[in-house]
């Protein structure tokens, strides 16, 4: 079966032919395709493009960031530690409660020892080298420090509840105890009486109902 609309075979229909002629004016006017050199697959790209490719740049940037973050953390920890040591040294000197313990020898000649306390006068030795006795502070974290101080304070001053009523002392305490016992006995007696009355009333009710039946 011929069908001009479908495959252009057979007798052409007038309106179909007219539409073909009319709309044919809008058909694609072929123009050459402009393909950029880099758009072709398997085309070798310049070395610069492969060297600074996006994944490589991303990896490099993240590595640099990690390195910077690490350096910052280490520096910060060192600073904190130095500040802590300095603070502790100051405390021990001002309070004057340095405990005998390990010794740190400040040997200026060799430069091996690092801690020097300028507030304490060094004792001269045979070699003429200054010796300073110091206690090495045990390193504590701020939170541990806080709890240790709190515990110390609690041990020094026992906690007192100001809102609690004052407890009676001596004879007064004995009298109060006796009164309490008496009051308890009275309450118990009252409860027993009430219970007996209730039992009696219940029995009466049972009797009445039996008689009625």
């Amino acid at each position: 079966m011929s069908d001009y609309l479908w495959d252009k075979t057979g007798e052409p229909e007038a309106d179909v032919e007219e539409l073909e002629n009319l709309l044919g004016a809008l058909k694609y006017r072929e123009r050459p395709l402009e393909i950029p050199a880099t758009a072709m697959p398997n085309v070798a790209r310049p070395p610069a493009a492969t060297m600074f490719s996006r994944p490589r740049l991303t990896i490099a940037a993240s590595l640099i960031l990690m390195l910077l973050a690490g350096t910052w953390l280490v520096t910060r920890r060192n600073e904190q530690h130095t500040n802590y040591l300095a603070e502790d040294k100051r405390e021990s000197v001002t309070n004057g409660n340095s405990q005998p313990g390990s010794e740190i020898v400040s040997n200026n000649g060799t430069g091996k020892n690092t801690i020097v306390n300028p507030t304490v006068a060094p004792k001269p030795t045979e070699n003429g080298v200054g010796i300073v006795k110091m206690t090495i502070p045990k390193r504590q974290r701020p939170l541990q420090q806080f709890f240790a101080r709190r515990q110390q304070r609690q041990q020094q001053q026992p906690r007192v509840n100001k809102n609690a009523p004052a407890l009676p002392q001596g004879e007064e305490f004995a009298v109060t105890q006796e009164e309490g016992r008496e009051a308890t006995a009275k309450v118990m007696l009252a409860l027993r009486l009430a219970s007996a009355k209730l039992n009696f009333a219940q029995r009466e009710l049972q009797e009445i109902s039996r008689v009625e039946r």
């Binding site: 495959d7 539409l19 709309l23 694609y28 123009r31 395709l33 072709m40 697959p41």
Partner: protein, 206 residues
Amino acid sequence: MYELEATGGMLQVIGTDMSAREAAAPLVEISSDAALVASVRAGDREAYGRLYDAYSRMVHGILLARVPYGEVDDLVQDVFLVALRKIDSLRDANLFGPWLAMITRNRAMDFHRRSRDTAELTDDLPAANTSAPEAEATEVLNLIRLLPEAYREPLILRFVEGMTGPEIAGRTGLAPASVRVNIHRGMKLLREKMGAREVQKGALKL
């Protein structure tokens, strides 16, 4: 004789008897497409030029069914460049046509998405240097654009690009029976719309 039942894009063929001629023609094209795609992947520019020659009308027609006439020519080039960049992602080289058609439809959608913020000039506005037949053609094109989406594409490919039904089916990868039904139903609706337009024009003249 055969019976056809079509609903939108879905189509069921009952007792069909496809002619050997219709079935054989796209097969030859498909095998040559696969060879051309392989050459393109190996870096052959000329092979891509041949694919462009074979499919530029299809791409133009698909775009014309969705995008204003003035924008279509540039978008055709754009679609072929996008396809070239993505050609390694094409799994079955035999399906280059349907794959390209899909890229074209996506590109048309993308065009509308991007130009949502800007005021779009429709084809209803007469261009300054448009000839009378071209203006009339644009008018008919606008009538086709008013038809349901399934009919627009095959009608434009048939009338504007001058492709036959089997050619449309072979290039776009749609079932020939489906294309046939859509062309016939679309033509029926277009005749109705054109008849109504003629009546309107006659009434205006009176």
